[in-house]
Structure formats: structure tokens, C-alpha cells
Subunit: 245 residues, 2 copies
Amino acid sequence: VISGILFGVISLAVLEFVSLSGIKIRAPLLIISHGLLIGAWFTFQQPPLAVVVVLVIVSNGIFYLIAENVREGLDSFIRDISVQVFVVFYLYFPLYYILELVRLGQLREYGAHYFFFLVAVIAVGDSGAYFVGRAVGKRRIYPVASPNKTLEGLVAAVTTGALAGWGATAVFTVDRIPAPVALLTGGLLALVSQVSDPVESLFKRSAGKKDSGSILPGHGGILDRLDSYIFCAPLFYYLIIYFWH
Amino acid sequence: VISGILFGVISLAVLEFVSLSGIKIRAPLLIISHGLLIGAWFTFQQPPLAVVVVLVIVSNGIFYLIAENVREGLDSFIRDISVQVFVVFYLYFPLYYILELVRLGQLREYGAHYFFFLVAVIAVGDSGAYFVGRAVGKRRIYPVASPNKTLEGLVAAVTTGALAGWGATAVFTVDRIPAPVALLTGGLLALVSQVSDPVESLFKRSAGKKDSGSILPGHGGILDRLDSYIFCAPLFYYLIIYFWH
């Protein structure tokens, strides 16, 4: 069930991503079916991930071999095939780690508490960066990708994220980890969140778009809600696996 | 040792691919190190493949976040980052299945005989397609990608490939599979070889280049030697795993 919901939400994010970045996708059904394959691997461990990678490459190759026969010119071919592969590994793959987090939590009888921990840290860290950055932010870190992000905001994100991580271990039943580990995890995730988000912004800006909400007014902003999780969900999963005992 | 040689050969193929397709690679070292990661996974099963995929995505994201800050304009960003990810999964990943084939052969005490089987089938099938296509070929299948490939050549490839597969089981000690299975495997691999090769040609033609040998005269043609293996090596590996008992 979670896997199905996740697939739907990520697919909407993919749709939004495609729309925001102005990329013309030649075979949307191929991307959706590759998303399903990745979902199947995360859910059932079948087919093996190596088979999924091979299928993504081969099916795109065959699709374009047929498609280019009936088209004028090959000028956008390299970009088109590369983007179709990229979107699958950039959105479906990392975001499916949310499922891994929920499942690992259930396995250890914490339900979705790992996921709640991550949501709390990212939400608090992003808010910290936003308010402090707006109040006292001067030194821009990514003038091209995210002009609103400042060094002051980054420091605030790490600080508030660390505190949120510490607080979250008190609120949600998760592994009894020492306070320093909770603080470090929270700070690190908040830091990476401040990297994950502007990478996504590059795609928007590359297409000359600045506002995400106006493109899909109905359900706008799904991708903006999820962009921090692209890097943070896998990172948090491996932090738990390797460092939370 | 085999893994190291394979890494070197594939890296040369990647170099040639990049040169042929006219793609400007912004971070070649990133591609090489991702190739090493994929090689490590095939060789040692470590780090887990999922970690490799995450690392490829995250390191490219961080690289471009930094790189775009000091550059004018973002117009080619989406293509650049996508191609950097694509090349890794299109060349290193499928071609490393050659290592899997050799290793599976060693495990079953056939040495590199699985690999020799594949080489024989592809070489014979390609030659069959070439000579028959040139002699009687009329109906072009991929006018855009490979104008020399004809339906007559394709039929010849499948026929001679099937016979080569049958013959190869007699020459090389491999699993005692019945003649129909050897014929089917040979025919199927020769067929897929006739698909794998023109997909690679699309990249050349997209950049307006027709002759591969002239670009890297010293060691030219590595990619042209390997292009059939991109789709055939993984396919043959799974055919053995699932159907050759």
C-alpha cells in the first residue's frame, strides 16, 4: 500500500519535474514503467536491481532506434535518451528510500517513526534556514541555483536541524541513540537538505522558470516538498544502517 | 586482473564514445570514478548496487551545484548532467557483464568459454549480416541509424548466429545443452546484436559523424568492436542463469 502511494506521489513529482524543467519527454510510458520496476525492486527485491538497470538501458535504446526512424533529424537524440534515463534514477530511485525508511521502522517495531524523524529534521532545518536567512542572511552560497540561500541560513539550518534531531528522538520512539549521534544526524541531514533542494532548482532555472507553484496550480509544489528527500532519504537510511545501533 | 583490463578497455570505449558523439563532458573524472564503482560492485559485490546508484546521482548533483555557480548561463545543464549519468549506465554497466560471463564460466569450470561462445556468435552473425546484406540486401530496417543494415542481412545474422551457437557448443566446453537451445540462444543473441550496434550508431550520427575510425586513429574502433556486447553480454548472462541448466 505504502509502495503504491509512493509510486503515485513520485510519479506526480516526475510529471511536475518534466513540466518545470521544460524537457520534452518522448516516451513518458517508458519512464512510468521504469518507475514501476524500481518500485518493484524496493518492494519485493525482484527483479534484481542489475536487471532493472539493464532493462532501463535496453528499452530506451530500442525505443529510440524505432522512434528515430520516423523523425526528421537527430539533433536532440542524445539529450532525449539521456534525460529519460536520468529522470528515473534521479527521482524514482532516491525517493523510494522513503519506503525503505518506513519498512526498516516497521521491522524494528517503530512504525513510520524513522520517516517522521526525517520529516521533522528537514522541516525544522528548512524553516530555520528560511527565517534566519531572510532576517540576517547576506552571503549567498548558490547565486545561480538558489539566490535566497545564504551562509547564515545554512548555519541556522544545521543548528536547528541538529536540535530537531535531538528533539525527535525524544518524541518518536526510535533506537536509543546517544544525544551526540542524534544531534550529528540531524545537523548532517539538514546540511544535505540545503544541497539537495538547490540541485533541483537548477533544473527549473535551466529552463528559465523561477516559480514552481504557477505551473501546476492544482497540485503544485509536490516536487518542492520532496526535493530535500532526494538526497536525504537514502543518506538517512544508510546512516541508520551503519551508525544507529 | 580481468576486472582491471575490462575497466581499462571500457574506459577507452567511453573516451571514444564521448569523442564520437561530440558530447562535451564537464567532469570526466566523475565518470571514471563511477566506472570504478560499478567495476567494484561487479568484482566484489561491494558497495551495494543501490549505494552506487545513489552515489552517482548525488555526486553529479553536488558537482553541478558548484560548477554552475561559476559559469555563464544554464542552457546546457540538463543535457550535461543527464549525459554524465547516462554514459555510466550505458557503457560501464552492461559491458561489465563480460566479467560476469567469465566468472560464471570459471565457477562452472569452463574458463572463459561462455565469453568465447558469445564472441563467436556475434562475430559470425555480424559477418553473415554484412556479406548477405551487401550481396542481396534491399530492405533497409534502420535508414537513419545504420543504412547498411537490411532485412536480408538480419535474417542472415539470425541464421548464421544460430548455427554459430550450435557449433560453439561443440568447440567450447560449456553446459551440455540440447541443440535447439544452442540454436535459439545463438539466433537470439545475433538478433539482439543487430539492435545493439545501431543504437550506438545513433550517437555517432546525432553528432553528424559517420566514420568511427578516423577520430582516434591510434586505437580507433574499440567502441565499434564492443557495441554489440552492450545489449548482448547482459542478455547472454541471464539466458545462461535462467535457461541453461
